[in-house]
């Protein structure tokens, strides 16, 4: 094992590079938005930023502050309006967002454990709410008549009739 002094010497060099990168306007913009939105708390003065963020900037800034990466996927699902161009995501981020939309815990995302990413899904945006998923089924004419009848009788939407049925069978 290397000495404590050598560890410190190497770390000082790396820390100086990190400090320099943290002055980059991309980092300051991203941090400013996350802090202003109450998503992150920091021990330094940060200029608030209220504009939309470029995904590329958040990913870049996330190399300096990984908690940005921890929050990003859940924010893309629950608060996409925070970001520009949300339809063009890198493959790994797109995969993680797809898993979250399916209500699944994703794999590790850029060294962030999937469980850490997933836990924010219910806690950002509207708490406790996750986006619903579209599913298609083939119903017989009799099924459809029954569905329409129950919806009218119970004053529910047809979707809610099916939801109630699922819970009754669970």
């Amino acid at each position: 094992m290397i000495s404590k002094e050598e560890l410190q010497r190497r770390a000082k060099r790396r820390a100086a590079r990190i400090r320099q990168r943290r002055k980059d306007p991309r980092f300051l913009r991203v941090l400013g938005r996350f802090v202003d939105d109450g998503l992150l708390f920091v021990n330094e003065e940060v200029e608030p930023f209220r504009g939309r963020l470029a995904i590329a900037d958040v990913l870049w800034a996330g190399e300096l502050e990984p908690r940005l990466l921890e929050l990003l996927p859940a924010l893309l699902v629950k608060r996409p309006g925070m970001f520009e161009m949300t339809s063009e995501l890198p493959e790994d981020l797109e995969r993680v967002v797809a898993e979250l939309r399916r209500g699944r815990v994703p794999g590790t995302f850029r060294e962030i454990p999937g469980s850490d990413v997933h836990r924010w899904l219910l806690r950002v945006g509207r708490p406790g709410k996750v986006p619903a998923l579209l599913k298609s089924f083939r119903f017989t004419p009799e099924d459809l008549r029954l569905l329409e009848h129950l919806a009218e009788k119970l004053s529910l939407s047809q979707t809610d009739v099916i939801r109630r049925g699922l819970r009754a069978l669970a």
């Binding site: 404590k4 410190q8 998503l39 990984p66 060294e111």
Partner: protein, 158 residues
């Protein structure tokens, strides 16, 4: 911030004690709140650039009403109790420093070295920059000893 919240919780429990006496109910139970993780580091005012998400990692022996009150006081500051704090691994050697003692509430902060070893061992990728900064300001002998004991490779942070 946490010290102030502990004080407010203590005042609230003192009020509950008065009510309990009047109504002949059991008095509230005292509680000890141990703060871990990033929240503890932020509370200590260290010369490191720190960022924390909303959740506050604590281990506490609250009664349910006190836990709810503590959570409400945190929420007023935009923070939340981390529901998984009890699962966080901390070294057996963790020391706690008392930063508030009231009639009902004790607030303790986990020591810096123990928190950083926990982060280095359990989530090195997420805490790489933090560990680098800490090593740059000069790690304590205790930190180095804990790293050796728990087999934490510190070179990965340089």
């Amino acid at each position: 911030m946490l010290r102030e919240i502990a004080r407010l919780l203590d005042e609230w429990l003192i009020d509950r004690e008065v009510e309990a006496r009047v109504e002949g109910l059991p008095r509230p139970r005292a509680c000890t709140i141990r703060v871990l993780g990033q929240a503890a580091l932020l509370e200590r005012g260290l010369p490191l650039q720190l960022a924390a998400t909303r959740d506050v990692d604590v281990r506490a022996d609250f009664e349910d009403s006190a836990r709810q009150r503590f959570a409400a006081l945190l929420a007023a500051k935009g923070r939340e109790l981390d529901p998984l704090a009890h699962e966080a691994w901390m070294p057996r050697e963790t020391r706690y420093e008392e930063i508030f003692r009231g009639k009902f509430v004790r607030l303790l902060l986990a020591d810096v070295e123990a928190i950083l070893i926990s982060k280095a061992r359990m989530a090195p990728g997420k805490n790489r920059q933090l560990l680098t900064e800490y090593l740059a300001i000069g790690p304590s002998d205790r930190f180095i000893e804990l790293a050796q004991k728990y087999d934490v490779d510190l070179e990965q942070f340089t």
